[in-house]
Symmetry: C2
Subunit: 479 residues, 2 copies
Amino acid sequence: MKAKFLILATLSTISTFASEGGEHENPFSKEFLAMFFILIAAVLGRFIARRFKQSEVLGELIIGIALGAALFSMNNRLVTTIRYQNEMREIITATSELEAEFDDAVVQYVRNETELPEDAQDRIISTMTSDNFVNSFLNANYTLLFSSLGVLLLLFMVGLEVSTAEMIKMGSVSFSVATLGVVFPFVLGYLVAAFLIPSVESQNVAIFIGATLAATSIGITARVFKDAKALDFKESKLVLGAAVIDDIMGLVLLAVVSGLVTSGSIDFTDVVVIVAKALGFLVFVFLSERYFLRHVIQFFAFFAGKNTFLLFPFTLLLLFAWLASAIGLAPIVGAFCAGLVLKDELFKPFKKKDQSLEDLIAPLEGIFAPVFFVLMGFQVDIMAFGNLDVLWAGLLLTVVAIAGKMLASVFLPKTYDRLLVGIGLVPRGEVGLIFASIGKAVGVLNDELFAVVIIVVILTTLVTPPMLNVRLRKLVASK
Amino acid sequence: MKAKFLILATLSTISTFASEGGEHENPFSKEFLAMFFILIAAVLGRFIARRFKQSEVLGELIIGIALGAALFSMNNRLVTTIRYQNEMREIITATSELEAEFDDAVVQYVRNETELPEDAQDRIISTMTSDNFVNSFLNANYTLLFSSLGVLLLLFMVGLEVSTAEMIKMGSVSFSVATLGVVFPFVLGYLVAAFLIPSVESQNVAIFIGATLAATSIGITARVFKDAKALDFKESKLVLGAAVIDDIMGLVLLAVVSGLVTSGSIDFTDVVVIVAKALGFLVFVFLSERYFLRHVIQFFAFFAGKNTFLLFPFTLLLLFAWLASAIGLAPIVGAFCAGLVLKDELFKPFKKKDQSLEDLIAPLEGIFAPVFFVLMGFQVDIMAFGNLDVLWAGLLLTVVAIAGKMLASVFLPKTYDRLLVGIGLVPRGEVGLIFASIGKAVGVLNDELFAVVIIVVILTTLVTPPMLNVRLRKLVASK
């Protein structure tokens, strides 16, 4: 015990001792400290989760929520800037065109041109007009960058454990599960919104809420399956395939619904182009593995020599993530595809016998992936649970959001664990958030309904890890 | 060959096909693409270097210079923003207080308040007033963040291969080499500047130039030693120790010289505080290893369990980098110290028998370190070589910059390879740049003299890898 006190005392002395400035005022040193604390938080969250026999990712999410709420209430600039990232970007762009000092322009714009709640306006103004806002804006973005890299690496590793052949074999089953997993939540969400939520005043609003419930975010499920070493199960492959297809359907749905809501009509050319691009990407991925990946690696190896084994996989990950994003798909779909097409045996000449791609990427993933889940927690606004009407509507929609995805697997053959598949598709995560924020931007969702959707996203994300774990344990026990 | 064409054709079709927008307009996807190209550039640079039997780092630097020059001439926003990073930060801060639209404020401020050359003004204005400047500013900073992480990981790995005991044993020798390596270049630089460079018009300017030549940047040398697997040589340890001490001396020198130049006097309290902080940090590092690191790891492991082996080293790296930076030292000194105090055997209970810290960190370092060296190349302005007066003064100072560091090792016992030690201290790198930019900021160095110092930094950095390699080969052959 003495040693611990000594450590704490020394650390705190040192950190008081340390002050700003000097020769090397490194622009990134604050970010190193932020990352330090985020990783420590992740370690603590996992520890608590293990104590309660829950999955580690739930621990990371919950410590993220707790820490995020605490820091947010203390007006911490990192958390505030992360939460209002999109708003702040918009404000920066808009104020740059105002003829005024930056601080004045921010106050003027936020007060007069945005419809944010009073409290959010105050926080945004206080953060954006504080000294060194540029630095805290940059720090928030650095942290989000690391988090984004983390989830890419996670999906890349998940992809490594699955093969394209397995995905294609599962293709039609994945497709039907994905389709039903879009249709059921959409219809149920529409009905609940239209008939049971009083503040929904038009068809369009109900349609948009239905569409938001159709989304699937694969990060949480992928992480739970990976931690439980369950990626080999056919249910895992089915869920992963369905999530990729769901991402494409989400794109289409968003185009259709936004068109319907903003112009009253659907632009079929748009829809065809979107589908063609997304399918084009997937076909490119599968063909690349079949016909030329091996040659590309050889070509790369001619230049990279012994570095091929490390650098080829990582550059392919970057390229596919960019490509997916450029097509309009989620970058993690690209990362997953990059993992999918790569196999250890492709690198035989460039690696030691016992080296594997997974061992190589694991340290990278192990460091950055926790940042993603802690930050997901940071972005949860527990104040959304404070308004009883909102809470009630949120709970109602959460029930149908969960039921809708569970129903998606109901026609599966008995050889599949239907519950596991259904639960795997439940989290709405950041995809639901993207839908919701577009709905807000086009004016379909007001603040209250936005908060309702946030509740659905939070709850579906939080219930999934424990539900999956219970189901996985039963399944393992019965095998 | 057919396959290659097929690939290129497909890739270019896909990338034309891909357009902006869609559901997941990910704010980081441009950065993934930039990182992709930087890593490809690094691979090509290394390939060329190997062909000419040069060290890989020289290849990365040179391809960075070539690519940087090409992109800069095409007004590429990433390279322009990286090059004028400091200027742009200053402009953003300054213009935020102007009562005008951002674009107008930039033009007004750059034209009237800065003393940048016409060409630089044009480029800065065109980049900062372009659409989406926020995004290109962020992208440049993301890339710099990865580069900064890369050099931290490099020095951390170098630290892993050296022990504190060895560093302490070398202490007094390192100290004397570091001292002479500061004194000789300072005196020689001062004399050359005062008597041979016509545009040096006062004592202060000559003193500042001398001080700039006293700096040492350890990144290049560490990389060459590491690539050549020469970190075991006593000369390597001597150079590393001297570089750490040199960083402290640089801090003191900067405080003294800036005081002398701006107020005409030296603030001895400042100097004492700086030295006390820096020594305090080093003493803390050495004591921590001796007395409580083992306990801290056990404490950490209580929470982190099997993740200890990955997460403890990385969080320690982040903490020490921040601490060093907060003290005023270079973050890489902190990273080096973190590597220094960690040993595989500390993690025996938390790792598989054949796992090593080096294997764990190598993939991280392998991906991010090249970014540092390519970006160092990006920042080289080859136009500096265009003015003959400047070039001549730069060459003159480069000669004494090299000679001064070589002389530092002249009193070493014969058992050391004196040349190797001397060459190892030659690169001025980013430390020289920091000195020079402070000199510019306080008005001691005009544009011309700044360009002179840039030439010294570039040349000392570029000549080191080949010189070290020649010497290392001789040494290995004679052993």
